[in-house]
């Protein structure tokens, strides 16, 4: 069965991305929710407790949406890709059963954790223990579905059972990358939530809390984002060791422009984060002497970003002949003496440079804090708008990278084993992929905005009335 207007692949694409955004959030957020609850318990700072509790409220509502989108995803997969769905269910039978059983357990733990917050306030370590169990189960759920997703790209040859299929060559790389990415995602969505609530806050007390919350969420997001390039390299190395063809297809053929876009997005994200930190420094009284570093820092991050993204050529694949299209070769291929800029070594150095500049900016922020005085809630609203922009870019980046992983299989459902025999077997160009990702990102934002509104802005009115 084909889906009208957007086709089966388009529908599956949008729903699966929406489902994965929500799933990443409900898996990533509880990790730092538990950490924040523990920090609040140890330090006695009530703000950590409130942050954890409010994020858990958002997460609990997000669970329902994750289930709904998961159901629609499974429905489209069943109806539009029947033989392939049957293959997955037959071959991974026991894995699916464990997966479903653990999801049920995860939901039970989530409800116990959420609703026992007040009743167990005097048994804090027990409550935190439930939170830890929730995270462990959630992570195993993710590992199982990662195994099935990873199998589609790097299937185990001559696998005898479901475990050997699950334990394929890129499973651990994908697990590591997604685990860290989910924490990053959860952190930035908490930052997005803090920014959203700050902008809607009217009292100074509320502004102060959400200003601080946006800061903590962003700090966690950036901290884990800085370790992601290494996890990405490990994952890419596993793919390369499995088949150099995949890497060539990704980095030097049809998907090469997609990685240029990845570079753009990560440069924008780090620039946005540095923008936020500098706006934070501006509101610290007595920190004016640090302002002179601002322009060199922005210049450095944009320069490193430019160096990173500079492509060897701007061709959409390895076979296109620009001269046949009337485009001079020199217009789309890097000059000979600059070719070294397009190699991996300068690019790795450039990425390292971006990380160092971000770290330096944070060090400057800490120094400014020592010499000056911060008033939470006094930050300029543009800092919060920058976090909303960073949130948009993080969601978009995750959607794009997901598309890259899926499209790396070219016209195969399972690489070199099951060919995609649908009308949508072909690898779409970057332009189409970017549009689809933007639509999925907007859908996710709409869902999250609804959750923030229904969970907090409506509720807040009731609290005021009470």
């Amino acid at each position: 069965m084909d889906i009208p207007l957007i086709g089966s692949r388009g529908a599956l694409w949008l729903v699966s991305e929406l489902h994965l955004f929500l799933a990443a959030f409900i898996l990533g957020a509880p990790i730092f929710i538990v950490v924040c609850e523990y920090l609040g318990h140890r330090s006695g700072d009530y703000r950590y407790e409130r942050l954890a509790k409010e994020m858990m409220r958002v997460t609990a509502i997000a669970y329902s949406f994750t289930a709904i989108t998961g159901g629609i995803f499974a429905f489209i997969l069943w109806t539009s890709y029947q033989s392939f769905s049957q293959f997955l269910f037959e071959k991974f039978g026991p894995a699916w059963m464990i997966y479903i059983g653990l999801i049920v357990l995860e939901v039970i733990l989530m409800y116990v954790y959420y609703y026992s917050w007040e009743p167990w306030k005097d048994r804090k370590m027990l409550h935190i223990g439930v939170g830890v169990a929730l995270n462990v189960v959630g992570t195993v759920v993710m590992f199982i579905i990662n195994g099935i997703g990873a199998y589609m790209l790097t299937p185990t040859e001559e696998a005898l059972n479901w475990w050997q299929m699950l334990n394929n060559d890129s499973w651990s790389g994908l697990n590591l990358h997604r685990f860290i990415a989910n924490i990053t995602f959860g952190g930035f969505i908490a930052g997005l939530f803090g920014a959203f609530m700050f902008l809607f806050s009217r009292s100074e007390k509320e502004k102060a809390f959400y200003d601080w919350m946006a800061y903590i969420g962003t700090l966690i997001g950036v901290g884990s984002l800085m370790t992601l390039p290494l996890a990405g390299y490990i994952y890419a190395k596993e793919l390369f060791l499995y088949s150099a063809t995949i890497s060539t297809f990704q980095m030097a053929d049809r998907l090469a422009p997609f990685f240029v876009m990845q570079g753009f997005l990560i440069t924008f994200i780090f620039t946005g984060v540095i923008f936020y930190i500098w706006t934070s420094i501006r509101r610290i009284e007595g920190a004016e002497r640090f302002h002179r570093y601002r322009t060199p820092i922005f210049t450095a991050v944009v320069l490193f970003g430019t160096l990173w993204i500079t492509p060897a050529n701007m061709l959409p694949d390895m076979v296109t002949d620009p001269e046949a299209l009337g485009i001079p070769v020199g217009a789309v291929i890097i000059p000979e003496r600059m070719a070294a800029l397009s190699l991996m070594m300068p690019k790795a150095l450039a990425v390292t440079g971006i990380l160092i500049v971000t770290f330096l900016t944070y060090m400057i922020y800490l120094r400014a804090l020592k010499t000056g005085r911060i008033t939470w809630g006094s930050i300029a609203p543009q800092a919060q708008y920058s976090l909303i922009a960073v949130g948009a870019l993080i969601i978009y980046l995750m959607g794009l990278m997901g598309a890259i992983r899926e499209l790396s299989r070219d016209d195969w459902h399972v690489a070199m084993q099951i060919r995609d025999m649908s009308p949508y077997w072909w690898v779409p160009p970057l332009a189409h992929t970017a549009t689809m990702t933007a639509i999925a990102t907007i859908l996710f934002f709409a869902v999250m905005a609804f959750i923030f509104w229904v969970g907090f802005l409506l509720g807040r009115k009731e609290e005021v009335e009470q």
Partner: protein, 218 residues
């Protein structure tokens, strides 16, 4: 005189630095001889221009005075949605222009490709020399060249009229291109034909039809 108005201070202003860099990219760089191996092509000059503008925009935005904290909830939501959508628009627009400038696709009646007949243009599109994705030749052959997922199309005009009762060759081919396998699948081949509706311009469709049916559609 205020310090920021001093000529030396003006020269260090981010906008001034951006102007120097753009002058270098667009006035000096094209003069570099090709044999030096350092001549930046148009694509790269546009690429670096973007980063110069992006850098200066970020620095200037960060120097702005604090904006107003909006009073109404509707305006706040509107501002948040606007920032979100505009942020997404930036990479999405870059992606639209990045792989190939759309304007590079030869169109009938445009500049040097004016002499191309519709069938000649159709042949270029058939073999992927344009932005038609995926190109026909990924699956079909023309005069022995191309893929084998779908049927050979060199003589399709002779058989297309008998594929569906009461449907002419022209109508059949046009519908098949627009609706893909959902319209019809030739026996012995898998249902792989994607629907091109919304992904092909009228001119491109006419050009491919001219190729498939013979010049002029006779």
């Amino acid at each position: 005189m205020k310090p920021e108005l001093k000529p030396t201070a003006m020269l260090k202003h981010p906008i001034a630095v951006a102007v120097y860099l753009l002058l270098f990219l667009w006035v000096v760089a094209p003069l570099v001889p090709e044999e030096t191996g350092l001549q930046l092509g148009l694509g790269y000059r546009l690429f670096y221009t973007f980063f110069v503008l992006f850098g200066v925009a970020v620095i200037m935005l960060n120097r702005m005075s604090p904006v107003r904290h909006l009073a109404s909830q509707g305006a706040t939501l509107g501002a948040i949605a606007l920032v979100f959508v505009l942020t997404l628009a930036l990479p999405t627009l870059i992606a639209q222009v990045y792989p190939y400038p759309k304007g590079s696709v030869p169109q009938p009646g445009e500049g040097e490709v004016e002499e191309l007949s519709p069938a000649e243009l159709g042949k270029k599109l058939f073999f992927g020399e344009g932005d038609l994705q995926p190109s026909c030749s990924l699956c079909h052959r023309w005069e022995g060249k191309g893929g084998t997922r779908g049927p050979e199309l060199t003589n399709v005009k002779d058989v297309a009229g008998s594929r569906k009762p009461g449907v002419s060759a022209e109508e059949y081919l046009r519908n098949h291109i627009l609706k893909g396998s959902a319209y019809h699948t030739v026996e012995g081949f898998p249902p792989l034909m994607p629907p091109y509706e919304g992904n092909i311009t009228e001119e491109q469709l006419d050009a491919i039809m001219a190729l498939l049916l013979g010049e002029g559609g006779e």
